[in-house]
Amino acid sequence: MYLTQEEEKILDGEKGDVLERMFRLLTRLGDIYGADKMIPIGSVQVAGVSYKSIGDPGTEFLEDMVSKGAKVKVLTYLNPAGMDLENWEKIGFPKDFAQNQLRIMNAFKSMGIVVTSTCTPYLAGNLPRFREHIAWSESSAVSFSNSVIGARTNREGGPSALAAAICGRTPNYGLHLWKNRQPTIKIKVDSKLEFSSDFGALGYFVGKQIKNKIPYFTGITDANTDQLKALGAAMAASGAVALYHVEGLTPEADLVEKKGLESINVTKKDLDETYKKLSSGKDPDVVILGCPHASLREISTLADKLKGKHLKKPIWICTSRVMKEAADRMGFTEIIEKAGGYIVADTCMVVSPIEQMGYKTTGVNSGKAANYLPGFCKQDVVFANIDKLIEGQL
């Protein structure tokens, strides 16, 4: 790989031990994947934040980095933590877990990382532009930034994203290159899509079929960013789709080459079967919305639906701290809490210890959550649209 004189000096250790290690990691990964050079990046999102995911080895690694003076060079945000960082006690997160989680957050903050923990950094103040090179980790955030914004990122692991943040660079390979952003399969959608969960079901179904291909969708006539977020998240979870194009809706759709592609039809029957397949339980103990993290629009929709109602069993909606504060100010939080629900910030159901909190069956409207909850959280799942889920909790 070509390195500039300044980059050679980093590798020779002239800029210190931390930078040398981190840069060696990036150049080695670049060699493994056939990168020609390093490129500057605009922002980073680091995964591996929940104590549930990284445990003691990760925590000790981060604290070690801090003691060696590691600092990030570009705007860097975090993936969700294992709990609400402010209201963890009230919601019932275990205390020893909380203490370890707070150690992790302190370590990140000491490195200059913004401790806004979210899988939707683009809704919380970390918004890349079209064609900007970035190094993000969380699979739904990677999918959204590549597909809906048209920024360019590979799916980074926790340490490689951290290394990119500390070096301000990433190796130039994969989805950073235009030739690798071309669609490899066409998906014709022949079904009405109404709820976010319909987009989640579509994403789950397509991801399962196409693994890590790049789909070009036709037949989706309209979708807002919340629905595209749900579609991309599910495809990244059931498959490994890091980039998709939607005719007429996403920025690169008109620019890519889509002639001569193999084509798959998706019908209403496929989606109905996906709903059934993803529902392994019934009568949820808890309904958890906000996977990926809810936008203000999604929180306001829930508040409208819960106004004046009384829930017999809880509903959580997970979101970023930034959206939570707007919801507080708008009175949405009060409405949801009065009905017996919670707005939970900084964390999500997949990385929080919900199985330790006594829940066995969780209702979700997210194809991504339905994909992960059985394995990561030992939950039976009810996958349905928001109206059906609310009805079941009243």
């Binding site: 290690r21 080695r28 493994i32 591996g48 003691d56 080895p57 990760g58 690694f61 926790g158 340490p159």
Partner: protein
């Protein structure tokens, strides 16, 4: 044998060979260096100060941190030899500073062999 340098350094030691991939997170105890994955061919054996030979990594990306933890706790292998080093192991050995070479025909190495790993020159030699 000539391979590819993943992480620099030169060491000599006794090989411990796994025919199966190793997932470090949940697979090796970072405090003791003992393989804890149930039914793994190396279950119960210690990798500390050995030349650890296995085809490739598997499992959670947190495995990178476990490799780093092994080194920090003083129970790391001296070096790692792979058929194909994927990113979890590559990340771990570079962060930890453990010499590592891949693209090696590991079928030629047996547990107990004395091996010289010269990662700087991407070579592995049986003594």
């Amino acid at each position: 044998m000539k391979g590819r340098m993943i992480s620099p350094g030169k060491v000599e030691g006794k090989a411990i060979v796994s025919p199966d991939p190793i997932g470090f997170y949940g697979g090796i105890d970072a405090k003791t260096g003992i393989v804890i994955e149930k039914d793994h061919p190396l279950e119960g054996q210690c990798v500390t100060d050995k030349i650890l030979v296995f085809p490739c990594g598997k499992g959670s990306t947190v495995g990178s941190y476990v490799i780093y933890g092994l080194k920090k706790n003083g129970v790391a292998p001296k070096a790692i030899i792979n058929k194909e080093t994927e990113t979890i192991v590559a990340t771990g050995v570079i962060l930890a500073g453990i010499p590592c070479v891949d693209h090696i025909d590991i079928g030629k190495i047996n547990t107990g062999d004395t091996v010289i790993v010269d990662a700087d020159h991407a070579t592995v030699d049986l003594v």
